[in-house]
Amino acid sequence: MLIYTINRILQIIPVIFILSVLVFGFVHALPGDVIDTLTATDGEEDPEVRAALEKEFGLDKPIYVQYFIWVGSALQGDFGKSLVTRRPVNIELIERIPATVYLALVGIGLSILIAVPLGTLAAVRRNTLTDYSAQITSLAGISIPEFWFAILCILLFALQLGWLPSSGYAPLFSEPGKSIWYLILPALAVGFRQAAFTTRLTRSSMLDEISKDYVDTARSLGLSERKVIYKYTLRNAMIPTITISGLQLASLLGGTVVLETIFSWPGIGLAIYDAIQLRDFPVIQAGVLVLGVMVVVINLLVDLLYRVLNPRVGMS
């Protein structure tokens, strides 16, 4: 296990390297450079001023040196300053992380609460009306784009019925009641689609487990069907479900831009979206890097957790 863990941690190094090169290269692939943005003269300024600025920003050095300088400061949490607010980018982003994590965790939690009972029920009552309706609902769920679902939710619950606010955010710890009030619609939009995935997965892994020999043994020993299902099979079937939910948490963080924009949810995704609109490149750069690293690290943790939960999986 230790060797596997070390191996696995070593494996993410090239991934993070590719990520950092892409993010670093991104700013250099843009037309013009920082100096054009700062002086706003479209390259017609005094060459001496330009040389001085180039020296100040380290642009006179070869590109790989610039890369290492950038990585060095990024590792210390220094991503430069926002071109719009002139505040350090790391402060801008750190403020945003809790909102993103909050929404993603509640969304995933909600999806598990819906999906596990539904998927289990569908598997236990296979080929009945319950099963078919669960399957059809979940298939529809993965086919509905989440932003459309979100719009329809706003249309129904906020605009037509007026029950819930259509957008906004309050921090959980200072105003818990208001915070949950604002959270309901976004969490529903996140949870619905994830629940569709998880239901399908729970159903198929339950079916896998139910067809195994130990279930027949347990039944022939005279254990009640309820005990066989809930005590033995469900536990084993949960292993892939938990793993995939973890992986979905990672992909949710990566895809959080869309829903955060719709609900004006002040997370990293909205920060990236606003930065794209305002052409605030340091924030885009740092935001993508931070989200990307979070995704990779969560994937790693989930993979390790999977091995701990399920020691039968080979360590290769």
């Binding site: 037309p31 932003f147 989200l291």
Partner: protein, 316 residues
């Protein structure tokens, strides 16, 4: 051997000795497609999916005939009208016919996603076959790169690429090409991984050994012998991927990161519709339904196909 299998075997075997090679080939093609159709009809999901898919594709091809109005021409006298005999789905805030815009938008999004998946297949299959068939150092190096790309959160990659494209003021065809490139690049690793896995299994089978004995070259064996035998899981993957890519494109253009406004596009039309959601909620419904329909078609077909091709599931 079941009656049906016997029958299909006979269809292949009854070859008239006087037939030309072309006639034999045609007959074989006909038999294969007939058998494929028989298999397809066994699964209800796949049949429904196939019908929906064919309807979608036919609609895309016939768009110029079916559309009643030019999709981008504004007509301020008929702004925000409800559905009528002249405008089947009503009109948007510029007085453009929503029905025609949904049709043209569909043609565009389906074309882009097919191009992206084809690009992903064209990059991924050769890489996977060679990695699986030749193994060794080529295998380990290329699979490390593939791992790196798989771990990269997809939407973030698109955001970077598209921001750069926007800064370079790429428009029309070039903007779409960048989109296809980004989506294809993101499809490639999964295809490569899948192809590698299956071709490694195939490479150990007797018919490959037989081909070696006959003296066929490695390239011939990889492409002409192994490839046809691993096509089915690839078709499943590519189909499901088509639905996923439609969702991604719609999400991107919903955020305003797709093609700029006058072009009909499901995602950006939905975004525009948000402004008039309270007075004309139906505007926000049609493009969303169109997305759901197309994604559902591909998902159903992919699901059904997987059931047909995976005998382990079929037994249940």
């Amino acid at each position: 051997m079941t009656e049906q299998q016997l029958e299909s075997r006979q269809r292949i075997d009854t070859i008239n000795p006087n037939d030309t090679p072309f006639a034999i080939r045609m007959r074989r093609l006909r038999t294969v497609s007939r058998n494929a159709l028989d298999e397809l009809l066994k699964s209800r999901t796949a049949t429904i999916g196939a019908i929906m898919m064919i309807m979608l594709l036919v609609t895309c091809i016939l768009t110029p005939v079916l559309a009643t109005h030019p999709p981008t021409k504004p007509n301020y006298r008929v702004r925000l009208q409800p559905a009528s005999a002249d405008h089947y789905f009503g009109t948007d805030k510029f007085g453009r016919d929503i029905y025609s815009r949904v049709l043209w938008g569909g043609q565009r999004i389906v074309l882009i996603s097919i191009a992206a998946v084809v690009l992903g297949l064209a990059l991924g299959i050769p890489l996977g076959v060679f990695a699986g068939f030749f193994g060794g150092r080529f295998d380990s190096i290329s699979m490390r790169c593939v791992d790196g790309l798989i771990a990269f959160p997809g939407l973030l990659l698109y955001l970077l690429i598209i921001t750069v494209a926007r800064e370079w003021k790429l428009e029309g065809f070039w903007n779409d090409s960048i989109l296809v490139f980004a989506l294809g690049l993101n499809t490639m690793p999964e295809i490569a991984r899948l192809t590698r896995g299956t071709s490694m299994v195939e490479a150990k089978k007797e018919y490959v050994e037989a081909a070696h004995v006959v003296g066929e070259g490695s390239l011939h064996i990889a492409l002409r012998e192994i490839l046809p035998n691993i096509v089915s899981p690839l078709i499943v993957n590519a189909t499901v991927r088509l639905g996923y890519i439609i969702l991604i494109i719609a999400a991107l253009s919903f955020l305003g990161l797709g093609t700029p406004p006058p072009t009909p596009d499901w995602g950006s039309d939905l975004n525009v519709a948000r402004e008039h959601m309270e007075s004309n909620p139906m505007i926000a419904v049609y493009p969303g339904l169109a997305i759901c329909y197309s994604v559902l078609a591909f998902n159903l077909f992919g699901d059904g196909l997987r059931d047909i091709l995976d005998p382990r599931i079929q037994e249940r």
